[in-house]
Amino acid sequence: MRRISKFGWLGGLLLLLLGGVARAQLLFPPPEFESGYRMPVTTTPPGRALWLQYLDVGVLAACLAVAVWLIYRPRSRRGIFWLSLFSLAYFGFYRKGCICPIGSPQNIAYGLLHPSYSVPVTVVAFFALPLIVALFFGRAFCAGVCPQGALQDFFLIKPIKVPAFLEHGLGLIPYLFLGAGIAYAATGTGFVICRYDPFVPIFRLSGSFFLLAAGVSFLLIGMFVGRPYCRFLCPYGALLKLGSLVSRWRVRVTPETCTQCRLCEHSCPFGALREPAPPGAPAPIPGERRTLGWLLVLLPVLIIAGALAGRALSPVAARLHPTVALAELYARQQQHPVVYGVMTPEALALARMAEQPGTVLEAAADLRGRFRLATAIFGAWFGLVVGIKLILLSLRVSRTDFEPDPGACFACARCFSSCPSERVRRGLPVVTVQPPVPAAASALAK
């Protein structure tokens, strides 16, 4: 039996040289103990139990059901408040925000394009359940189940109205973020939506400074601009918005017929309440039709331009992929060598690549090809989103009552109590404490 202890460092070195270090063989054979020593085993603590993950799905489904019931039956803001407090505690601070529906489209995209990754049932459920609910009842998930939304909602103090052009312009970002998230997941780069979620670090009470600062900034902005992340960034919100645009049932301010009293006009802190069309709508003006016609022609142009621009930007987008980044670092190193420190990640990565540069370069070239396709599709998606937004803006309003925009409405139930009919239904005093309302409207309320 060899005894390294007697030789010290020199012995170790000697053995290393003599043995030629066959990695497969042990340098020092495990000793045969004589003292009856029992060798411990390497512990393998298990992860979160599967039944607990199914419990999460159950809690999600139950919360969604309760949210729908609260919105449509008792029409209770207080109920939604307590439900979102529970969701914040459970999905936020207890479950630490992972996995959440916001990131789940990436898993679906990754699973579809990478056969080695089968999407877990729980993830599919987290992706599909809120969407199905949105298709029938609107954004009940946003109302009381999403911890990110709940956190921002609790910070809302004095909502200000966001100018329409800003609301419409920034409202396009979620679709782009969704597209980017899916593109990066599809190319196997990573899950950027999860990477840049500003609230999950707050749930964990740890994270990078940048993200924590972003989270705190969102909450500070959220004191005045209601739910800024949900409205102007959330990619899953974009999906839910599309779903609730065609939902079977819709949130209405009034439980019965609208009396056009305008008392609800300022009750929505998220700018989702839409005015009715002015009475006595004029006959179609040819100019409007011409605009619509031009916009319909513009749509394919925007799509093609987007695709071309996306394709042109693909080398930049591809740099986020670690393999492409390494290949570029290697190429730079060939031209202008930079000395990285011993055992630094860069030096180690370069050393790893130097062993077989061909395979990494090949993989990077293959990835760049995939990125050209992915960014072209993303650009086309960008064009489509902008084009459709322009077309929707040009359409004539046909609303007859004050109604929440079905896509933008979070179903938070705040507007309900501003409606006199609702207050009568609930047996509340009709004299409301409201922001100043036009004289005509207050006269109507009496």
Partner: protein
């Protein structure tokens, strides 16, 4: 104003309502098809992140890039592979003053390796996971001159199971990968 129902129509459905219904049915069909396609790919109970010890380059990113303040990556000891050396190059700093457990002799920055005497001349080395920060210094030390019985693993009782592992994307060896939750460790086994 909603379109007035045409005379003779039994169940008036406005054009917008018709489009909405159609889109909803299409969306539900799409969701169903998507779920179906995903189901044919096999239904995994779940995935967890793990480090492939064969690819780990001991760069030290594990200690600093985990979203947890105390990384979920810890060093583990494959006892069956350990030589129980008296001079353990994973335990002792290069050229130690003495072969004692005094802090200045240790390679581990947090003294997380416990060295206990077994029988002459063998010592057992085990990891105190509450102290280990997952920097991989001992892993490198052990690999350089020893059997390589120390290696880094994500400890799943600590891991938050992020959808995207924050260490995985900065790993220079691309050693992180998703493994089935039923077999969540990639342990080193004794080479035959």
């Amino acid at each position: 104003m909603p379109n007035p129902p045409k005379s003779g129509q039994v169940n008036p459905v406005s054009r917008r309502q018709f489009f909405r219904n159609g889109a909803r049915v299409a969306a539900m069909t799409g969701l169903g098809a998507l779920t179906g396609v995903l189901a044919t790919r096999g239904t995994a109970a779940g995935w967890v992140w793990q480090i492939d010890p064969a690819k780990c380059l001991r760069c030290g990113n594990c200690a600093t890039h985990c979203v947890l303040e105390q990384s979920a990556v810890k060093c583990v000891q494959a006892y069956a592979q350990c030589g129980y050396c008296q001079l353990c190059t994973g335990f002792f700093a290069p050229e130690p003053n003495e072969l004692t457990t005094a802090a200045e002799n240790q390679l581990c920055p947090t003294s997380a390796i416990q060295r206990t005497f077994v029988e002459d001349p063998y010592y057992q080395y085990s990891i105190d996971e509450n102290l280990c920060i997952g920097c991989g210094k001992c892993v490198e030390g052990c690999l350089r001159f020893g059997n390589g019985s120390f290696f880094l693993q994500i400890r799943h009782d600590r891991c938050l199971h992020c959808n995207e592992c924050a260490i995985a994307r900065v790993c220079p060896g691309e050693a992180f990968r998703r493994v089935p939750a039923q077999s969540p460790y990639l342990l080193k086994s004794v080479a035959k």
